[in-house]
Symmetry: C2
Subunit: 281 residues, 2 copies
């Protein structure tokens, strides 16, 4: 998915948000905003939005010297999600169609995302679980179970910390022995790193980091190992908006699992903002 | 009020919004966004926000050749507000304290503003009138009636079209013979021009245009006539956010009448976003 002009104000907001998380020094916030504005003047509209977001978060880290501004947020959301794990597992266990419910819980986890404008509120979690359990799934479950049954190797591209605990429930339903979970190679936003996957208890899967600090999966920016897994896996499951933005035009089928929080992404998918999406493209 | 970094994403949004109103040519939208980004890289944080907004709307007009992108919006909101005029006048007539109710109705009119992010919906108008009639007035009515009673000349700085019809009700309550109404000198956003004041039926007041195309009252950018009226008037009433932003640090007392829609302005005033404000400073 290319970059749209609607992304420009959002990039600016994201830069300011990250700068404020990284430091309390207002002169540095201002410098981040100015540098971001200079990048926006040269915005490559043919690139995917995470390409620009990667630049922005590099600017924030470089100017503030804070190499992981979202670290505390990530630890907090991992803990929060782990506390919800028994309830989420129970929903899956008691469901008539456990794999579909596991997908729904993974989508629900996608709201635990501090990278975007609308803040997640902790008291909303139970509501979201309930909504995810019963809401229509844009794209639909059809084909997912069959693809999963046939696959002897599944590459699962994780998105944010916190939500990665919910991914674990889907990975358990798929059968961890055949799943490779990919996380980001270096800190960017609240995206999950290897340490977050381990904190989430993903210890019985193959864990790879993608070698990149983009908040998405820009294949050219990823390690050879990631690209090989991406090409060779029988099934690829890509979680969250950043992975959708960067892989919606990929040369192989990918199952996208996300909540379409951003209106531009929702329009690209062809659904209403806020929709729960399971879509193969 | 100076410019805050939170204004940066908002400027970008405003530029894009205005560009899309001005033309359907996407290449021009992109050029507006890039030019705005270049201006943001040089943002003067000591200037008031309307100083930057003035630049942005000049960029939009220059690049698109559309000299008044909000003209249709202005005509539509004027018509809409005129349709509400009898109901608004009735509320004032039937109120125990008619002048205070007229102030409240003028504040309510301030929501008819298409320049900002949150879109006004026509079906909300009656709700807003009712809320404005009963909500607490941040700052309070105290002193306003006394100042008005003593004044033999009142300068009323108008804000947007549409809402200027609601201003008329307050001006009628003040006594039009001693009121000078100032509108913008040239088109910018949906701000009221001379033609909007006339469409609103403001025909029994002295009408001046301020000579400026800023969406606020930047005194140095205004005509000598406006500056003289501003210095000499016994009472100045400034309507809306743009006039607050540009005159909150003025060297004379000004009565500000507005709905604090923007969270940055609300923080500067010391009230909750969405508050109805009547404040002398």
């Amino acid at each position: 998915m290319r970059t749209y002009l609607d992304c420009a104000p959002c990039f600016m907001k994201q830069a300011l948000e990250a700068a404020r998380r990284a430091t309390s020094d207002e002169a540095l916030h201002q410098e981040v905003v100015r540098r971001t504005a200079r990048e926006l003047a040269l915005l490559d509209m043919t690139a995917t939005p995470p390409f620009m977001a990667q630049k922005i978060h590099r600017i924030v880290r470089e100017l503030t010297g804070n190499l992981d501004p979202y670290r505390e947020v990530k630890e907090r959301t991992n803990r929060l999600a782990l506390g919800l794990l028994p309830a989420v597992r129970r929903r899956v266990r008691n469901a008539g169609a456990p794999l579909e419910m596991a997908v729904r819980m993974a989508v629900a986890g996608n709201i635990i995302d501090f990278g975007l404008e609308r803040r997640f509120r902790e008291e909303d979690v139970e509501d979201v679980l309930e909504r995810a359990a019963v809401s229509p799934l844009h794209g639909g479950f059809e084909g997912f179970e069959q693809d999963a049954a046939r696959a002897s190797s599944i590459l699962y591209l994780a998105d944010n910390s916190g939500e990665i605990v919910f991914d674990r429930v889907l990975i358990e339903a798929l059968g961890p022995h055949r799943v490779t979970v990919a996380v980001r190679g270096r800190p960017v936003l609240n995206d999950a790193l290897r340490e977050d996957a381990i904190a989430a208890g993903l210890t019985d899967v193959e864990l790879v980091d993608n070698g990149s600090d983009a908040p998405g999966t820009i294949l050219e920016d990823c390690s050879d190992q990631l690209r090989e897994r991406f090409a060779a896996a029988d099934m690829v499951i890509a979680k969250g908006q950043g992975n959708y933005e960067t892989l919606s035009g990929a040369h192989r089928p990918v199952w996208f699992v996300l909540m379409a929080k951003c209106p531009v992404i929702a329009r690209h998918i062809g659904c209403e903002p806020g929709s729960f999406v399971l879509q193969k493209r």
